[in-house]
Symmetry: C2
Subunit: 367 residues, 2 copies
């Protein structure tokens, strides 16, 4: 029963929750840096709702709307610089994982008196950050309730996590209406990301009764959204379930971290441009099979949340969701296994894989 747990973000969930609870933003500051991607926050209504809430509070804002997928370190510095130039004292991040993670990194960098050199962004002992509020508009990352900001790290040729309790958003607003226009592939890949978070949380050495409770509910919710033809129902109720599940799974990884699956998945995204959620999904079943050899009962617990009996059934279900698998060369597999061996999150894995095990998971998943 040795564990730690913390997740201090205040969550408001429900249709129009930003309109109804926007006053909660008042305490965060006088001027927001709104951080979004180029389009979706404008199209899905979330930006409008945010602007109305800020106006009602008498809060000013600047908009930084140039966050790309898999945001770069340069993007984080650019946004932080805009925050300082414009006198923003809090960040309102709206979007999928990319704008939320970028916004959190900007909140950290903008609050430093002494500039942090980009080469030290992941190693600096930060002591302050601007407060952050987050509005997810996809259901996958869980970034609205985590202390992580994951950036593309070209020096290390991977994605690297800024992890700091200062990065927990003070407030998260969950409104599934913003998910209405998502493309099918985005819905599927982000749902698989959330599933991966919840499953990996149960396969972490840092799992606890608290994280297990949240993970099981998350897995069960996602399962109810998957029909015979995959994730084809895109009703309002399904969107709510997926959004709730991704937040639950975010609460899980905030406390358990991710595992070898994410460690390997980052290479698939960095080198092959495979979407983050799909990258994890492609590896998940074979990693379950690897873990099952020594921890059969734990895998059974995960499968039972999905009303499944075997890892093979789990693999078929994910195959049905993800479609055609990318193929890797033997050299790529070797390279990615070697990189994953050095990743910090490998150490979270309940059954810690050696290089040969990673080779096998990668080979059987994508060889």
């Amino acid at each position: 029963m040795k564990f730690q747990y913390c997740m201090p973000t205040r969550i408001f969930s429900g249709e129009h929750c930003l309109a109804e609870n926007g006053a909660a933003l008042k305490h965060l500051g006088t001027k927001a840096l709104i951080v979004t991607g180029a389009r979706s926050a404008k199209a899905n209504g979330s930006l409008d709702d945010a602007l109305k809430a800020l106006a009602a509070n008498g809060q000013a804002y600047s908009i930084y709307d140039r966050v790309m997928s898999n945001p770069t370190i340069a993007c984080a510095y650019e946004g932080a610089s805009e925050a300082r130039l414009n006198g923003c004292d809090f960040v309102l991040a709206i979007g999928g994982g990319s704008p939320m993670d970028a916004g959190k990194a900007m909140a950290l960098l903008a609050a430093q008196e002494k500039p942090v050199p980009p080469s030290e962004i992941f190693t600096t002992a930060y002591e302050r950050a601007l407060p952050v509020a987050a509005v997810p508009t996809t259901a996958g990352t869980g970034s609205e309730v985590t202390q992580y900001a994951i950036l593309t790290n070209d020096a290390a040729e991977t994605k690297t996590s800024l992890a700091n309790p200062l990065l927990f958003p003070r407030i998260a607003f969950l409104d599934a209406a913003y998910l209405r226009g998502l493309k099918k592939t985005v819905t599927v890949n982000t749902a698989v990301d959330a599933l991966s978070h919840a499953v990996e949380g149960m396969l972490s050495v840092r799992a606890s009764s608290v994280s297990d409770a949240l993970a099981k509910e998350s897995i069960a919710l996602i399962t109810t959204c998957i029909g015979a033809s995959g994730l084809s129902d895109t009703s309002g109720e399904t969107r709510w379930k997926l959004l709730c599940a991704s937040t639950l799974a975010g609460m899980v990884i905030a406390n358990t971290g991710t595992t070898a699956v994410h460690a390997m998945g980052y290479s698939l995204t960095y080198y092959k441009n495979i979407d983050h959620g799909k990258a994890n999904g492609l590896l998940l079943a074979r990693f379950l099979a690897f873990t099952e050899r020594t921890r059969k009962e734990r895998i059974a617990e995960i499968l039972s949340c999905m009303h499944l009996k075997t890892v093979e059934e789990f693999a078929r279900l994910l195959d049905g969701l993800l479609g055609k698998r990318e193929k890797l060369s033997a050299a790529e597999i070797k390279h990615y296994a070697e990189k994953a061996c050095k990743a910090a999150n490998i150490a979270n894995s309940l059954v810690r894989p050696e290089k040969d095990d990673l080779l096998e998971v990668l080979q059987s998943s994508l060889g």
Copy 2:
């Protein structure tokens, strides 16, 4: 999917967690008011561990060890006054629900510049409190992770809750070793209190996927501790499960509030001196039966966490735990039902009982 969720307390759990993570107390202040009852914190080792942690941090302390069961408003004022006289800038509350609740109330009162008259203690809009750390030494209240401090309110002849987000402990240390010497009746009554919190959380209008996840895990954990002869196993593993379950249930009620069960239970404690946990337990089965008439599926969900099929089985299980039931007169039943009607937590009940319903629950439980 309309809900709110917040539980900012940082939890450290595990044997010797206070010794291993005592440094986390450093940020709370320079001098602690240690709040305990007269005996148990000294006997179970928790006070010693706390003193060592404070010493290692170079933090001073005063001890207030006069908290009684069902602490009074006078007790809260006395402790707050000691905190101010001795220059304490944080509270370290150690014990069951009574010392933790009293310590939280003291932290609130001690932080006020302008004295709050006792008649306004429950109605004042507080804006500051001393930071609190909590060490539970029973497994029932969950006060280590809630924003509530429940005090005996003689003016209203009941127990009344001070509820304020400022009261969330900053840190909770969970070490089941401190539960080792608990009397059987205390173990049972506190476990039933935790069960009641989790079950009532599922019967609250404020329940959500997040609170449900935590409640179901709590109920399931408690169920695994109940054997054919009740809660007779007092192994280390059982103590851990019960402590974890009570913290999970605390996280639940921090977000859902309690329901009509607690509203009625307070009278049993105030007028008949029935232990708080037992008071709720005596009423729980009949309240489930009442709710089942209109929300059959919800009750089935609760029962399934316990591998039970009917409310009657639930009633028998609780009877086995609680033993002989107290009896109330018709006048008492009428009086308690009338009082409960006016309690704030009635409004949380998923199926809101009218006075006649409360009469029936009280009559069938204790008539």
